[in-house]
Symmetry: C2
């Protein structure tokens, strides 16, 4: 047995003694799901999956790993899309047993949850207290709140309520040396020194391990209305968005964009869907208005705003949901999009954001550039238009070999991200950097900013043990190649 | 001439050569206003006040000072209340010449301004673009936006729009070594690496010098309504706030608290004021509702909400402004508070925040404790109740010697802050730490959090040259005594 091997065995024995042997898993079959990424883009390896049950146990495990110089990758629901949770050696620290609701304070409009609580359970706890926790995205039934905070997740409610970051009042974090920072304040204003919570939110587990959070709640909207509109162009979508924002401000809770090809895919491959409008349009938007007041106010407002927009030639046709069931059916047309793309073959994906004023320019220019680069390619840019965030996905030409198409991933990244950068956008809007965009971040970020990131990493994790190689690399090791 | 002296002379000559001699001021009369703090609590000293005209000139000045190991204090309108902008040696870097509006993007709902732009001018630039920049506080006619961001200022619009931090999309910052970080993105979502802007916002010029910012704009409310209500107690204020928040969500744009003694002072010493209600009440709240829609909707909503609250016994009497002039007159009753306190003698002040659910407990307990500690003392806790932020000010007993009263500052700090800490509040809600609360922060902060702050300071400003001794001290030098 080599020294390294025996040191690792000792570490696992130490962890088993404290956490219980069944929470230190090494059986290959049992740990396999923790070694891969949702889309199968990466497959990693680990000594063990360790599942502490309390913050103190997380601290113990981190301290033990730090002493043994064994790297750690914190993991929640493992629903990330950028390879950020895939381990390449060391241990996986699964936070899924830390799933307790620690406190609910409806009057203070906050709740405190542990990192491993499933997002949908956090929403349900808020609902049970008569309030709203707005963070929401497709994987909310399996994603854990800790991962959502560690990646500053976006999702469907950013337009009115902000990103995950904006919903955090306080954090509890285990640092790289195993100390616990207790920053679980439930305050709306707190200028008592540097704001440490923002350092950890969005750091993808590379600066510290979030073990609990105090989150903002909002009053529950008592009425909502969904509209689905057909538009002549992306430019009309932008003009419509500007009008709705002026007319409803944060009463406008969603403005999601769907291109003609996107709706065609949904109607062709989705189950239980029917065409929302009589004929096809160049683009569509799903719009939601919400109000803290019960009644028909949002519906009347939707009707008035859309009537004005039709008169102005921005909207060609529109349907307004008349019930919760109809609203849900319209939402489904948007929510099915990521899934139905699979039926049309391979997709090369981009998660980009632009200044709102450049959105229409970007959609026109990037679509044209990609179509010119590969005739028959079918762009399907969709998503959180109102946040300036487009999932600029490219579906393969009909009949092309899937693997051959996906081998062009980097080439199309370069085309799309080049336009994004020229327009002062971001190549990582809501999914993060992880492994998949790490080297592109290093190439494209402001060099002073990049140096600051590395300095922060060194200051907080000098031995590079927390999710090493993700977001910013301190070593020169190249990332694992994408096994497309 | 000593070596140190000649090195300083060389530095000033270098700065004069690049910035122009008239922007390197050493005349004692000219620099005197930069050496003191608004309330006269501190008087510092400096070699010179240096006023660069561009970001590049700021970078040049910082690099020159860094090479000469001369500390720098960045200063804008010098309206801070915690001694954070007072220099004790080194140079003052006045950013007031960096006052350009760099870009306005109404469709993108953002503008980019330089740090030295006066807050009221930023508001006006937004207004000219048909939008709202919500940050607002009493000193907005002289305060500069850079200082507002560096201190994460709060003010009058936090309830609906957040603190200064929440209004920042991007920053340009000169680092301690004179390099420029260009983080001026106008994006609503950006997860491209660690969020560096939040590191600098609220760091009070100790981690970097903010030279420009891209800020969020909002649709301008087209109608608003102000109500002024008489309440039986602080507890009723809290119950009323909970109802209004549920009923109006972020349409509730202000909920300010005024105690009976506060309104009495305003009516006794304010010019052009008259009693808003027929008789006196234990407490008052100023309430504002706003809407993106024109018309009388907010007034009808205010009437309905207050009628319900009266029926529930939470509100004893109420008046609703019927015009912009009447609304302004009601706001004046709140805005005059800091000023009229001076007419009643010395005030010992606290800028604290509490979890919303503890606000009434805090007001009752802290008032009782202070009154017990000094018979005749007159508590005047007022302010941003809806944000959980109370300016817990204590007016001296009638007839007591002002200086004798103020000599009790630390004693009352200990009483008030002790209750704040027990209730998981913050001793620095919106004014920051500066010098005045530095040692109290060091005593009361979570020790791991404090260590993190020091590590950040060392990582970003290893020679301790940026506003040294403020917020967190790296050296053991005690802060200058308060010259009360």
């Amino acid at each position: 047995m080599t020294d390294a091997r025996s040191s690792q065995e000792r570490l696992l024995a130490t962890l088993s003694a404290r956490l219980g042997a069944r929470h230190v898993r090494t059986d290959p079959a049992e740990i396999a799901p923790h070694l891969v990424e949702t889309r199968g883009l990466y497959r990693g390896h680990a000594l063990a999956v360790v599942a502490p049950g309390t913050t103190e146990e997380v601290a113990f495990a981190v301290r033990a790993c730090a002493e043994a110089r064994v790297p750690m990758v914190a993991q929640g629901g493992n629903t990330g899309l950028v390879g950020g949770g895939v381990p390449f050696g060391g241990i996986v620290l699964s936070l899924n047993r830390l799933d307790r609701l620690r406190a609910v304070d409806p009057l203070g409009a906050s709740l405190t949850v542990e990192a491993g609580m499933i997002l949908a359970d956090v929403q349900a706890a808020a609902e049970a207290a008569g309030m709203l926790f707005p963070l929401s995205w497709a994987a909310e039934g399996t994603a854990r709140i800790g991962g959502g905070l560690a990646t500053n997740a976006g999702g469907l409610a950013v337009l009115a309520y902000g990103n995950a970051r904006d919903l955090v009042l306080g954090l509890e974090v285990v640092l790289a040396d195993g100390r616990i920072w207790n920053g679980l304040k439930a305050l709306r204003k707190n200028n008592a020194g540097y704001d440490l919570k923002h350092l950890f939110v969005g750091s993808e587990g590379t600066l510290g391990i979030i073990t609990a959070a105090t989150l903002k709640l909002y009053p529950k909207p008592l009425s909502a209305c969904v509209g689905f509109v057909g538009l002549p162009s992306a430019r009309a979508a932008l003009a419509l968005f500007e009008r709705l924002r002026a007319g409803a401000d944060r009463g406008l809770t969603a403005f999601e964009y769907i291109p003609r090809f996107g709706l065609e895919m949904v109607l062709a491959h989705g189950i239980d869907v029917r065409p929302p409008l009589a004929r096809a349009h160049a683009a569509y938007a799903l719009i939601e208005l919400a109000s803290p007041r019960a009644g028909t106010e949002t519906r009347a407002e939707m009707e008035a705003l859309l009537a004005e927009a039709m008169e102005a030639g921005l909207v060609e046709d529109a349907v307004i949901g008349g019930s919760a069931a109809q609203d849900a059916a319209l939402w489904r047309l948007r929510e099915l999009l990521p899934e139905v793309q699979k039926a049309e073959g391979g997709s090369i994906k981009h998660d980009v954001s632009l200044p709102l004023s450049r959105l229409a320019d970007f959609l026109e220019e990037a679509s044209a550039a990609c179509e010119a680069a590969m005739p028959g390619l079918r762009p399907c840019p969709f998503g959180h238009f109102g946040d300036g965030n487009i999932h600029f996905n490219l579906t393969q030409p009909v009949g092309m070999d899937r693997a051959e198409f996906l081998s062009q991933w980097s080439r199309f990244n370069a085309i799309v991200h080049g336009i994004v950068e020229r327009m002062d956008g971001s190549i990582a809007a809501e999914h993060g950097i992880g492994l998949i965009k790490r080297d592109e971040l290093a190439r494209t970020a402001d060099p002073v900013g990049l140096d600051l990131m590395r300095r922060l990493k060194r200051a907080l994790d000098p031995d590079d043990l927390l999710n090493p190689g993700k977001v910013v690399a301190l070593s020169d090791d190249p990332p694992p190649a994408l096994p497309l």
